[in-house]
Symmetry: C5
Subunit: 349 residues, 5 copies
């Protein structure tokens, strides 16, 4: 599963070297400029346009999706004066979520998990925030941000009247909350397994349990550091954040903690499930073996008895008895009943 990998340069490459990675989707750039009732959206703006946007006193959000082309990233990096190492992180997806507070801007890397054909995939979201600009790069198709774009376009809620910190909060909220539907799916899956495991454990479950464990491991690795990112966002005193935004970021923090909480809970439930699965399988196997062995054990002495009277000694008085044969049957039936009773009494049956 390539989602675990990180694209890295071979050791020794000069820092800030930008390389083009696999084709992927199309790169799309949108520039949103707004202030209260004012709002313009420009698709695929030119560098000049972007540069102009940074100079006027509107807020602007440059929204880049499907990041694969180093030249585009490089150009934007020059326009906004971003550090080459940060640009490297933008292009090499698979980064660990982090926050870097530079003098001019704050740089955030986040992971946005979603289902792709029953596998969890991670989109890397990289955000540069400064006084009144927000620059977002999304390694995937960026459809998760569509509701935020809609709210901007239609002027729903407070989004247009607030500063750039509110926009950041809106995106952060989308990124963090995107884990909830995944976790709910995993949770339902686990609960379905729980019922099944006690009644009818089969071999396919082992595979499913293993798959779920991997998914949770992946999610944990991708989302655990996000809590710290938001926590540092709460502590740092950055220019672009006013006090009124504190409850919003605090709310994000609560959600990030809740996500981790759920992941840990599901991990514990899964490891409990594995124990139960193993016990159930072993109980079932033991039941089978016990019953079969008992059947065998009842017939062994009987087979011995019939073997005795199959011997060809010339002098075997029983063979000549008129009711010898029927007597042997009687003896064998009594023997079998006694053995069954003994097993029953010992609670082996």
């Amino acid at each position: 599963m390539e989602t675990f990998g990180k694209r890295y340069h071979p050791p020794g490459t000069p820092p800030g070297t930008l390389t083009r990675h696999g084709a992927g989707g199309l790169t799309q750039i949108r520039l949103f400029e707004y202030r209260d009732e004012h709002f313009t959206e420009t698709v695929s703006p030119t560098s000049q346009h972007c540069l102009a946007a940074t100079k006027n006193d509107w807020l602007d959000w440059l929204d880049v999706t499907g990041v694969h082309d180093p030249t585009v990233v490089n150009q934007l990096g020059e326009v906004f004066g971003l550090h080459p190492l940060a640009l490297e992180d933008v292009l090499n997806s698979g980064q660990r979520p982090k926050i870097d507070v530079h003098e001019q801007y704050t740089f955030l890397v986040l992971n946005l998990p979603h289902w792709v054909d029953d596998e969890i995939a991670l989109e890397q979201v990289s955000l540069f925030i400064s006084n009144d600009h927000l620059l977002s790069f999304c390694s995937g198709n960026g459809s998760a941000f569509e509701p935020v774009r809609e709210r901007l376009r239609k002027g729903f809620g407070r989004i247009r009247s607030q500063g750039v910190a509110y926009l950041l909060y809106s995106l952060l909220d989308v990124v963090i909350d995107s884990a909830f539907p995944l976790l709910e799916d995993l949770g339902e899956h686990i609960e379905a397994l729980e019922e099944q495991v006690l009644e009818n454990p089969d071999k396919a479950m082992l595979h499913t349990l293993h798959q779920l464990k991997r998914d949770l491991l992946l999610l944990r690795r991708a989302l655990w550091p996000q809590r710290e990112v938001v926590s540092r966002l709460l502590q740092h005193d950055v220019q672009w954040r006013d006090a009124a935004m504190r409850p919003y970021f605090s709310d994000c923090y609560d959600h990030a903690v809740q996500v981790i909480d759920l992941i840990e809970t599901y991990r514990e439930m899964l490891s409990g499930l594995l124990d139960i699965y193993l016990s159930s399988v072993s109980n079932r196997m033991n039941d089978i073996m016990r019953v079969l062995t008992i059947v065998g054990t009842i017939f062994i002495p009987l087979t011995f008895v019939v073997g005795v009277y199959g011997m060809n000694f010339e002098n075997m008085p029983e063979l000549k008895w008129q009711n010898g044969y029927f007597g042997v049957w009687g003896v064998m039936i009594v023997l079998a009943i006694l053995m069954l009773a003994a097993f029953k009494w010992r609670k082996w049956l």
Copy 2:
């Protein structure tokens, strides 16, 4: 078990959006106004009444139970000037316990566990405390607070003569202590299992152990953060708390720690129990298999012997011996005794 879930908005919803969740019980509002001997209780007060109450110099407790209706919460939020994100937390039950210190008020979220038909259910208790108001929302029917209401009505103890912090303490105490009866039930269950597991492990136990483990996991997740909430309540220097209340909150803290302690102890006992259960089951199975295999093993050579004398060779001298048959019986009996003795000597039987 839906108790694990959290009701969340789809990612991208504007913050502070209030939505109506499942019908549930009736919403009931009670307004308690009191100061020393003065005491009035108003059921279902109007917004105007509430607003008036916040202005006079009596203490007042607005006690809302069965919270499902966003309009009610919204109205109260406006009257008391509460943050929309806090109101969102009130309505979306399944929050992690937390404390948010706002300028005007302190906001607490707590979990109140109780039995509902042999399953642990959690009621979410949300509290807003300011200088002389306490606003409580309870997602369940709020019957757990009845003793506190009674003490207020009858003027028992110090409750009427103390400030709002004492009322908060009384509610906190109820919420935290509500875990003790549950834990005692679980503890008795575990101890009953302990005796049974060594004597008579059966398959149903696996199910019970698993159920108990889940219950403790749920409780741990719900109650662990409450310790931190109370601890931060002890540290924070909030306006409405005077020094004399410190021992009371410190007592709450001790109880919260004790709850966690018990949960952890029970969890360790349970995991010990699972080990013992598995060993017991395997010991029992081994006993059965060993005895049965030994029975089989004794008869196998005997069956071979009788097979030998069932052969039809023309020249088999033993067959013609007068006492051949009885000799063979003798040999077989000796053989069986020798084998039994060998097994006994090796402590296999």
Copy 3:
């Protein structure tokens, strides 16, 4: 085992409500007043006497054992001006060890473990220390403190010439060191088991291992917080403690850490033992099954051979051979030897 339980009030009871718990032993009160050569001991002093004692400039130790009667505790609480919540903790044994620093006095709760008929029981020791008074409550019969009383009566060592902090140290030392004889017993038990488990694992061991695990779990829960209590005693700057006492409390701290160290070591040894036990049992079972199965496997082909010559075909040339019977015996003996050799060679035997 009721030692795990905590006696708690039903949720909602007004704080500081004192209730009488089970009969237990007799309550006995002793008042020790001393200063250098001066020493008086009063058994069952009156409240007036106690009040007088607090006013003179002698040191005094009010030593209460067998605490079950709320009225006694209430009276003393009033004489010494103690907080009702602290009194509640004194009466409700099963508290977690803790230290509360009030303005007038320091309140300590400790656990004193000892054997009662092969089970570990905990006595709760509650101490109130102020400038020159020490008030001790012991939920058991208090016999553990007898050596300290003797040293006071006879004037051994420095105890009479030192302040109340030295008396506190003496009691603390008794409480913490009381764990060592128990741990030594447990340690010897574990080492005895270690030798046995590798040679002769039997089913009763499972029960013993489980019992030891429980005992250590109980001890850990009861004694772990005592380290923190002593540590905070070392840090806090309380009036009644002079600098010269530091090495003494530091010594207590070392002992408390050593106790925890031993408990953790024994817990690890026990869990190692359980692993070894399970492996030993499984090894033994495997040995039995292997040998028995091999015996069976050797006879199965032989029994087949004799079955062949028990067939009644009219045309079976071997049957008519003069030495057919003896030849078959030869074949079977060779077959058995070959099989044994093969098993030996594969190291299965």
Copy 4:
């Protein structure tokens, strides 16, 4: 595997004693002097040369590879005024990564992992950094630093125009990133095993799993402390580091954390794999035993039946029936079908 060992002096040896360890590769010394366009490289410089280099105002990097000879290290130590204990650490490879901030220089020890014939080997890299000198010792052949040397020689990127801190960063980057290709190999190995383990678990896998676990354990021990080293490099305020280097070391830190993250993730995946392997093996074994036992169990009663009619009683009416033989066949076939059906119905087959 000697990679785990540390070469140590016998206890009691005077500190700073330098001893010659195993032959190993050739020691090679290179001196790089540079400043912007200026650049000279001297292979095997004399002590005098080195001393001169420390005095001019160019930056210089003394690059020593294949460190085994105490005299060489001793000479350099004298030239640069290094502490004897630091020199001891240089020679005794197998040190734990660490950072020591001396007054005159900062001393770093790092581990550079690489594959040697399918086994992970560690080269120890020791770095002394001062205002404008960097002295590096590499216990291996130092080929990992070749790209950095090339960049210096050809003047690629910023390396010549920046201070000594940038050179340090370049080396650090090589050392830390050298773990990624190894981890990628291990990761691919683990994923290949994952697919195999569910379908076709064989005994060789146990060996492979164990080997991978060891490799990860070794890597973890070698690389875990590097995170702390870089973290302390970020915090310490050393003379030779200017503020502009912060993002570079911060990038190194992110990589070091990512390495640890991957190691921990792989460790968890491996331990999950072991569980799955054991379950798979046990499932397969159970399948075999179940089917074989069922086959046995079906024939046991049939063999009993044929045994019955092999008895030699004179009076056995069935033997004389015309169709007795065929009837017995019928009975046996019916019996076998019934048993198969019962097993099928119980889902044992």
Copy 5:
């Protein structure tokens, strides 16, 4: 193994009570006085001599080995003005390593592990350091310190020209490094086991694994706290330590961490080994059982067939066929081959 025990006083004994413990080796006292070229060694000095030594301006090391006699310790304690509780710790070996900073001196307790007849034994080393005196007590024969004494006597290295801190460092270095040879032995043992466990797991290994686990547990408990002791030595600003000693103590700290690192690594390797051992044993057992069961299963139907033709029905047409007997052989051989092929095809063989 008595190495785990701690000699303790019965609870309630007055603090500072010195009691004589088991005979043990002879107590030997040596007084080293030195300053640069000056050096005198006095064996068994008198108290007066010691007192005089404390007054002159030479450095002196009073080196006491084989500490069992309370009177000797008491005398020295009075001469040097040591706290009675510290003397108690000196006599009661089995203390946890610790550091106590008193006003007049610093008191250290350390553990020196060494092999005694294939078992790990711990010598307790207690050190009192003040401005220019060092007082060392060693519970064993103190032979580990012989190299340090030699260096003092012969004036090797810097030892005579440095202060008391350097002497302390020399002893500390011996104590901490004494763990390396032990750990190397354990490491070799573990690696030898690793090779054996995969090829030829036998029952004796279980015992060895358990023994190694115990040894590591003992070492961990004894050596873990030494890291903290050295760390606090680095932090504390004590009179007798000058800045130049920092690298030396820092070197000790590195070694102490390395020791712990090795112990933890070996513990993980051991627990991995136990898993592998159990899997190997179970794999081997499964192999045996599978092959044997298959052998049994092949013969069961064949035995049934020969049983059929051993029946005595009068009308059994096959018996009269000319080649019936040979036909049956053919049928049976075909049957056996088919079964073998089926097992082969299912990969059961």
